[in-house]
């Protein structure tokens, strides 16, 4: 206690290396394990699946990506290089919903470009909303949004993927959207 502190040299590289290795093994190991574990889940053909208040019938060949789906909130389907993401949530704002925010996210955050104007859409089930197309350097996509002010709910459908086979995938995405309603039991 009554001795002064002394600046005695010591090596830190073994300890520093051990810490660095521990972080690398932990983070790298988990990431490696995750990447090498399949997250696809086949969906029963012709059966309705639901996410939040939205429900729809997946097109043939589309599988669920369980790692990018959040129970009750979002559902990610994929087929080849194309993704179909349905997100539901609460909305207590205006009738246009968070459309401007979404476009800002795509344009300023994800460096995508909006193609053309926003247009209205109506499905055969009577689902109404707004839609727009977008594109980036490696992908293209279409975004649909349905705001239900009475139920204070919001459903966003984001379809995107590579340009290869885009037309067929988009047709299937539209078919899935066409089968959608907001009557899923909560």
């Amino acid at each position: 206690m009554n001795e002064p502190s002394r600046r005695i040299p010591y090596r830190t590289w073994p300890g520093a290396l051990a810490v660095l290795l521990a972080i690398a093994v932990y983070v790298g190991g988990l990431t490696f394990w995750d990447r090498h574990t399949s997250g696809s889940r086949p969906l029963p053909v012709g059966e309705t699946i639901d996410v939040g208040q939205a429900r729809f019938i997946p097109a043939d060949g589309w599988e669920m990506d369980v790692s990018r789906s959040k129970a009750g909130k979002s559902l990610m389907l994929f087929k080849g290089g194309h993704k179909f993401l349905v997100t539901t949530g609460r909305w207590v704002g205006g009738p246009d919903g968070p459309l401007i925010r979404q476009q800002r996210l795509m344009e300023r955050g994800q460096r995508l470009s909006i193609e053309g104007d926003v247009s209205d859409f109506v499905t055969s089930w009577g689902l109404q909303g707004k839609t727009f197309a977008y594109y980036g350097s490696k992908l293209a996509g279409r975004f649909w949004q349905v705001v239900d002010l009475r139920r204070k709910s919001l459903v966003q459908i984001d379809f995107y993927g590579s340009n290869d086979g885009m037309d067929d995938a988009l047709t299937e995405a539209r078919r899935m959207l066409d089968s959608m309603d907001l009557e899923a039991p909560q």
Binding site: P4, V19, V27, T37, V92
Partner: protein, 395 residues
């Protein structure tokens, strides 16, 4: 003036403590490189926030910046920042907010993704945060504390000196995580408004959860590192067991906080959520408080021993001041009472006096008495000369 208590040591090594700028040590470069790496990640993350929800990002930065300052001020008020030079806290805070956050993000995502794949997305929705957060975040925050200890090992001579660095690393993590949550929540907020997400997050994550969050967990985990470091006389197995025990306790508290326990007993309203957060947080704050108490007492014993040897002059440290050396709350109470009784100037002078006394003791303990401590001795005498008439005039 008394002569230096000791000369250059027998061992021949220079007297003093290492600074936290140690370019010749690998640990310093590992720490720095990982912080800089995290800084790029954090800047890029927030630059996106500024582009998409600029009002939230700006206001969030301001609010969480002020929130950090409030914690700094609380630590400073209790003289806890006297343990180290400022760069130690900058490095600890930067590690927590940048180094640890950078690695926590992919690790947490991977764990939650694995849980979804191996169990189900429903399982992740309920247990994901409890499984991923505690193990990843406690480990990464503590890694920074260990690196800091490696950088300047002889700066850490008491439990308190390690705990305050741990708390600062936890605070850095907490603040950057809160800022990140604020920006993300604004992107998915159920209103167009960009101010409400900031206020809501400040209320829930800052005010209702702030005291029993990362700073508290890392304090607990850091106690194990401190015990390991400061008890070389104990068997290695016992030292490792103590470090693991404290880490396990921090993990368990973090796990309980993230887990959905008790949520069924409360509805979704803000009032009941506040009650839930407090009920879940109180055990954490009690546990962290106990660790702080042990550390402060040990620090008090350390200061008393140093002062007895190096600063025996009663005009520099009077008896009542001596008694309170290891009791930051009592020192604060005396300052406050002095302010009420003798005015703001007396309080300010007393604060400075107490701080100079601590600095004198710590510097004398490091280098011995001599020219290096003269500045503090002069400051103490000057402050007392200013303070005594103020007290005497009104008494």
């Amino acid at each position: 003036m008394s002569s230096p208590a000791f000369e250059q040591g027998d061992a021949g090594w220079p007297v003093g403590t290492d600074s936290f700028f140690q370019p010749q040590r690998a640990a310093f470069w590992v720490l720095t490189a990982l912080i800089v790496n995290g800084l790029f990640y954090t800047v890029s993350m927030f630059s996106m926030g500024f582009r998409v929800v600029p009002v939230t990002a700006f206001l969030g930065l301001l609010v969480w910046g002020l929130y950090s300052l409030a914690f700094f001020q609380a630590f400073r008020t209790l003289d806890l920042l006297e343990q180290h030079p400022p760069e130690a806290y900058v490095l600890a805070f930067a590690w927590g907010g940048m180094g640890a956050v950078y690695f926590a993000a992919p690790a947490n995502i991977a764990i939650q993704s694995l849980c979804a794949k191996l169990v189900s997305p429903e399982f992740v929705a309920v247990w994901g945060a409890a499984i991923a957060g505690p193990i990843t975040e406690e480990f990464l925050k503590l890694a920074g504390v260990i690196l800091l200890v490696l950088v300047a090992r002889n700066q850490f001579q008491t439990y308190l000196s390690v705990l305050i660095v741990g708390a600062m690393a936890g605070l850095g993590f907490q603040v950057i995580e809160n800022l990140s949550y604020t920006v993300n929540s604004s992107m998915h907020f159920p209103l167009e408004n960009q101010v409400y997400p900031v206020l809501l997050n400040l209320l829930t994550r800052g005010l209702l959860s702030g005291l029993w969050s990362h700073a508290a967990y890392t304090t607990i985990a850091s106690f194990g590192v401190a015990w390991f470091l400061l008890h070389p006389e104990r068997p290695m197995v016992m030292r490792i067991a103590c470090a693991l025990l404290c880490f396990g306790l921090a993990w368990a508290m973090h796990f309980v906080w993230n887990a959905p326990f008790l949520e069924d007993l409360f509805d979704g309203g803000y009032g009941e959520m506040a009650v839930l957060l407090i009920v879940k947080g109180i055990p954490v704050v009690i546990a962290a408080g106990l660790f702080w108490r042990v550390a402060v007492r040990e620090n008090g014993t350390y200061l008393h021993a140093l002062a007895a040897w190096f600063v025996p002059e009663r005009e520099l440290i009077r008896d009542d001041e001596w008694v309170r050396l290891g009791a930051p709350m009592q020192r604060y109470k005396v300052r406050r009472e002095m302010g009420w009784t003798f005015g703001w100037k007396a309080r300010r002078l007393k604060t400075q006096l107490q701080r100079e006394q601590l600095r004198l003791i710590r510097k004398a303990g490091t280098y011995g008495r001599g020219a290096q401590t003269l500045r503090h001795e002069v400051a103490i005498r000057r402050l007392r000369a200013e303070l005594d008439p103020l007290i005497g005039a009104k008494a």
